[in-house]
């Protein structure tokens, strides 16, 4: 049972990673990051069957942080959009040193 859960979680995580790598649209990136977080959540829940409830506590924590992150992240995306009139991350190069 746990084996299948881990496989699903690995697949979900890989899809998330692939999405982050491939997409340029900030919203899509955002969704992919959420996907990765949730893949991790699934793993934690799966392992909590073996190691007690501490994994589920983590999941709640992660969801809370993810929610906060979504709020801040979307606000940044909106800010970026207002400034650049685009959310294409390939064209925003402010990280250049």
């Amino acid at each position: 049972m746990i084996r299948e859960a881990l496989i699903v979680s690995a697949i979900l995580f890989s899809i998330g990673v692939a999405g982050v790598l491939v997409h340029r649209n900030a919203l899509l990136l955002f969704m992919c990051v959420e996907l990765m977080l949730n893949a991790v959540n699934l793993t934690l829940v799966a392992f909590s069957r073996l190691h007690g409830t501490s994994g589920q506590v983590f999941v709640v924590l992660v969801m809370t942080v993810a929610a906060a992150e979504a709020a801040i992240g979307l606000a940044i995306v909106i800010g970026v959009f207002r400034h650049y009139r685009t959310v294409d991350m390939g064209r925003i190069r402010l990280l250049r040193g």
């Binding site: 990673v17 790598l21 340029r24 991350m89 390939g90 925003i92 190069r93 990280l95």
Partner: protein, 685 residues
Amino acid sequence: MDLAQSAPVVWLLPALPLAGFLVNGALSLLPAWRDGDAPVSATRRTVVSVVGVGVMAAAFVLAVTLVVQLANGATEGIAGSLGTWMAAGDLRVDWTLRLDRLSGVMALVITGIGTLIHLYSTGYMAADAGFARYFAYLNLFVAFMLVLVLGDSLPVLFVGWEGVGLASYLLIGFWFGETANADAGKKAFVTNRIGDFGLLIGMFLLFAHLGTLDIPEIIARRADLSAAVATAICLFLFLGCAGKSAQLPLYVWLPDAMAGPTPVSALIHAATMVTAGVYLIVRMGALFAMSPVASLVVMVIGAVTAIWAALVGLKQWDIKKVLAYSTVSQLGYMFMAAGAGAYTAAMFHLVTHAFFKALLFLGAGSVIHAMHEGLHHAHVDADPQDLRNMGGLGKRMPVTATLMWIATFAIAGVPPLAGFFSKDAILTGLAARASSHDAPIAQAGLLGVPGSVWLWFAWGVGLVTAFVTAVYMTRLMRYAFTGTFRSGDVVAEGIHDAPMSMRLPLLALGLLTLAGGWLELPPVLPLGPVELLTHWLAPVTAAPMTALAGTPHLAHATEYLLIGIAIAAAAAGIIVAFVALEPARLATKDAAPAETGIGRVLANDYFVDTAIARVVTGPITAGSRAVLWRGIDLGLLHGVLATGSATLLRSVSWVGGQLQAGVAGGYAWAIALGALVLFAVFTLR
């Protein structure tokens, strides 16, 4: 006051010209006095002349005083020390100068002739912008020369040895505005370095085997040396002498050294510095006496040099070049005598040669001076030193001509002039040793040939050289002073005899040339025997001379015969030059046809310089270009290390720069790949 008691008074001798160097050197550096385009003003010239000539005259007076002191006792010589120079382990060298009977003779020649030549220079260099600089250098030379001859240990002598080399370099390249002059200075310096290497090795060997470098101590303890070591030391020392005294194969620098002002050629490259090698051999005579083989080498090299250079002198057209080759040849004579162990004869010829060769050079100087003025007067651009452009100068400059004729007869060996007696002393000395049965040098062998044969060889070469000398000197005199002037009447109008400042030294040297030979007369001649020099030098030279040559003696009849042969050779040379040469048919330098055949070989000094350029300097230059310059400098240092490292850093930083593109996606890829690698490392290990 007893000068010998107040210790460092000897140091005053070099200190006086050194003070002159400092004063004139400082003056020459003042902005207002520095070399300009215009001649130095008369006032400034007076200041410089008084300092330059004054210190020399003072040094001469001091030298005379000290030598008189020496004559009244003080057999060990008058020594003066300024303390220890260096002390390291067994080595201890003191700043000690010693005026003994040998160095006294040298000091008198240096300061005496030096004073005359300084005086002459005040006239000769009057129109030169570098007047103060010139006198500074000349004073510096005399200071170092005195350190050389007075040095009581080899290192102190070496200080003088290198110092005169420096002064010589500075004065050869005095007119450094022309590359040829600067090159001549460099050539002299580099050639001398080869000789100095030998001198240094000789010193190292002496220290290694005797543990001392003090000359009196070396001589006192020379018995500790084995014969082979003594021979090696002597040969290395002789290499040094050959460099300084322009003997084969290191003579090539001296003819080029004529690029300097003519009084410099007279003082440094004829009368004093180039005789340092002869002096060193006589000074170390006790050592050379231990090695008849090394002595034979010295003699044979001297003999070959004498005839080698004399033949070149036959075909030179530059008046100074003739005298330069003549100097090389006469130095060969001195080495012949020194090698044969006739140290007194060598010193005798050194002294008389200083007289008549200085006179010849100064006479040539006044000829060049006059020619220069004449050509200037007529606005003609021609070579003022070329014999072909002269002719008939005797009528225009009778004093110079008369005195130069005297010097010519002296160098040719016409009695009763100075050169006759000294040359005769050498030739009879050689013959006496060759026919002697108890002379170790005659019994020693070199290259399987007995010493007596070598001695006869040297005697024969000396005789032929005397003949050739008479020819080339008479040739010079006839081309310059007899017949008609070849550069045109306008030039001739501007030619005048030497001014008084130049005439006085000429007259003084003329007197010395006339009378110098009476220092030493053989017993067979009327008024003989006079043996002033022999007795004077006996404390230094008698023992080594006996050790090397026994007590050679010639029958009176033989001696008369030898003197007759020598006179005949000189007379034949003069007559040949008068009969065979045709000054009337001579063309000026620019119109002269090129030399052919043997004349071309001699005119170009056997193409020695060309050969050296082909065999030594050419390959070194080419190799330096290909390997050191293009290979190591441009290739390795510049290409690989300097430019290469910059290129490497740039490409590495380019790669780094590409990573920092600022695109978030790129960082994401990097993180993902990095995580993958870490994952692979941790799982697959």
